[in-house]
């Protein structure tokens, strides 16, 4: 089963809408222990990508590279930089391809997770967006069907949130309030839940 640029553009539309919808919620989640800009970061980033979407090249690698750059230019917050890093990793993997195998999803997500880890120097298990991606990579491994991948990814981000809620933050602004963060969702994981579910059409 393969997907092409059309599927990417549709996913962009769904994620953009979801970020507009969750703007206040993500700002508020980030504001509890951070600086309250996560909704701003994500709506700006997705708006910038939306502006490009009609002119994206068919080469999926080049298309994702342009998306990554749009994110970089629109926001320099931690999350924006990490998103750009992850997109760039996927872009490199898909360079020269106009289609990609659904079975590649797990590897693409795992690759993004690794590059983002290198950039941000956080540990897996530290209650960050990395853990959501890690859960998605593991849950989708070995799956080749579009709907199966979508469902597995959506469940994985939900479960990751559940699993980490009671753990303390170890990275980002919230690390300073490790105690207070127990019982609160990590805003970046929350955002990734919304992104993955919107991309998966869930």
């Amino acid at each position: 089963m393969t997907l092409s640029k059309a599927a990417l553009v549709q996913a962009i539309d769904r994620v953009t809408l979801a970020m507009e919808r969750d703007f206040d919620e993500l700002n508020a989640a980030d504001g509890t222990l951070g600086d309250g800009d996560l909704g701003v970061t994500l709506t700006r980033g997705m708006r910038a990508i939306t502006q490009l979407k009609d002119d994206l090249p068919d080469d999926l690698g080049m298309a994702l590279m342009q998306c990554a750059q749009a994110f970089t230019k629109s926001s320099g917050s931690s999350y924006g930089t990490l998103m750009a890093t992850g997109l760039m990793s996927a872009a490199k993997a898909l360079k020269g391809q106009t289609e990609f195998e659904v079975a590649q999803v797990s590897d693409l997500v795992a690759g993004a997770r690794d590059k983002m880890q290198e950039r941000g120097k956080a540990e897996i298990g530290g209650k960050t967006v990395l853990d959501s991606l890690d859960a998605v990579a593991r849950a989708t491994s070995g799956l080749d069907d579009k709907e199966a991948v979508a469902s597995a990814a959506a469940d994985a981000v939900d479960q990751a949130l559940e699993e980490f809620r009671q753990k303390p933050a170890t990275i980002g602004r919230a690390r300073i309030f490790a105690e207070k963060s127990i019982g609160l969702d990590d805003p970046g994981m929350l955002a990734m839940q919304r992104i993955v579910k919107a991309a998966a059409g869930r």
Partner: protein
């Protein structure tokens, strides 16, 4: 939202446009990103460059401190958001005079990731870069985890001291060492009485009752160590000094500079009321106060609140603190 602006999306661009228009003798835009401010006149060839960067909304930090005896260039992001790696790379190029560039900025995740990326980008230009991070906010992690601490108003001292060392002609290693020494010498703590509003968020970052305050709050509204009823000026200053002196023990003969800083809305009248206690506590410890700074040096737009920074001096740092500097917001000598 009690803010005077046009489109929140254009807040930073319009701010920077007015900023360089108002002070052309000090500042110019560099490159075409619209987010890099450099000295109006380049420093002399061979001087080590100093760049900083970070989110907007803290004037005079960051752009304001570009100037003689201070910074060479600065990349400035959206309100409270890091500039991009490209912009930071541009700032590094603007600052470079062939002697390398020190990246001197606060310990925030977005800034670190982007300055690291920027460093990778300018490797192609053969610009040697070093890094010093400010971690002066004592409320943001215990002393044993001091490397995790946020950077706040202490960067004003770091800019000044490293800037003077660079202007004096020291090499990259020397300037970096001074910056690290300055960063190590500074301890800060803040207390907020009200939130600011990020223009694009459109509402205050946090709610706080009219009779409440928060001790230890960060410069972006990050939570502090306690929230409670608003105390008197003497009590607030007393607790802030307790927390600073616990980490910067002073004894007779020590020299220290102190910055009593408004986070924005708090007027100088209140800073002077606080300064009485600050001075009394420092003198009671036997220390001599060198060049105290009272005013708005590092802010969070219209937040009301204050921060104190202690900067312990030795002969070298004292001389650098007193060396000339000049920008639209601060002049020494």
């Amino acid at each position: 939202m009690k803010k005077i602006l046009n489109d929140p999306e254009k807040y930073v661009d319009e701010m920077l446009e007015g900023f360089v228009a108002a002070h052309p003798e000090f500042y110019r835009m560099h490159g075409d990103s619209g987010k890099v401010v450099a000295r109006a006149e380049k420093a002399k060839a061979g001087k080590v460059g100093i760049v900083t960067g970070g989110g907007s909304g803290h004037l005079p930090v960051f752009t304001g401190y570009v100037g003689e005896g201070l910074l060479d260039a600065c990349a400035i992001g959206d309100v409270f958001a890091s500039p991009s790696a490209d912009q930071m790379a541009d700032a590094i190029r603007a600052a470079d005079q062939g002697a390398g560039v020190l990246r001197l900025y606060g310990n925030y995740g977005g800034d670190i990731m982007n300055f690291d990326m920027a460093g990778e980008l300018v490797e192609f230009d053969d610009i040697e870069c070093t890094t010093v991070l400010l971690t002066d906010d004592v409320a943001s992690a215990p002393p044993e985890d001091h490397a995790k601490r946020r950077g706040v108003a202490g960067m004003v001292y770091a800019f000044k001291l490293a800037g003077a060392a660079a202007e004096e002609g020291r090499d990259l290693e020397g300037v970096t060492a001074v910056a690290q020494k300055a960063a190590d010498a500074c301890r800060s703590i803040g207390a907020a009485l009200s939130s600011c509003t990020v223009p694009q968020a459109g509402k205050p970052t946090f709610d706080i009752a009219d009779d409440e305050m928060e001790m230890g709050m960060g410069i972006h509204g990050e939570p502090g160590v306690w929230r409670g009823k608003l105390r008197t000026a003497d009590e607030i200053a007393g607790e802030m000094m307790d927390r600073l002196l616990a980490e910067t023990p002073l004894s007779s003969g020590d020299r220290v500079s102190v910055l009593v800083n408004s986070l924005g809305a708090t007027p100088p009248e209140e800073l002077y009321i606080l300064y009485r206690t600050v001075k009394q506590r420092l003198e009671a410890a036997g220390a001599t106060i060198v060049m105290p700074l009272v005013g708005r040096y590092a802010t969070s737009m219209e937040m009301s609140g204050v921060s104190f920074t202690l900067c312990k001096l030795d002969d070298e740092l004292e001389a650098l603190l007193k060396a000339p500097c000049n920008c639209a917001f601060w002049r020494v000598g």
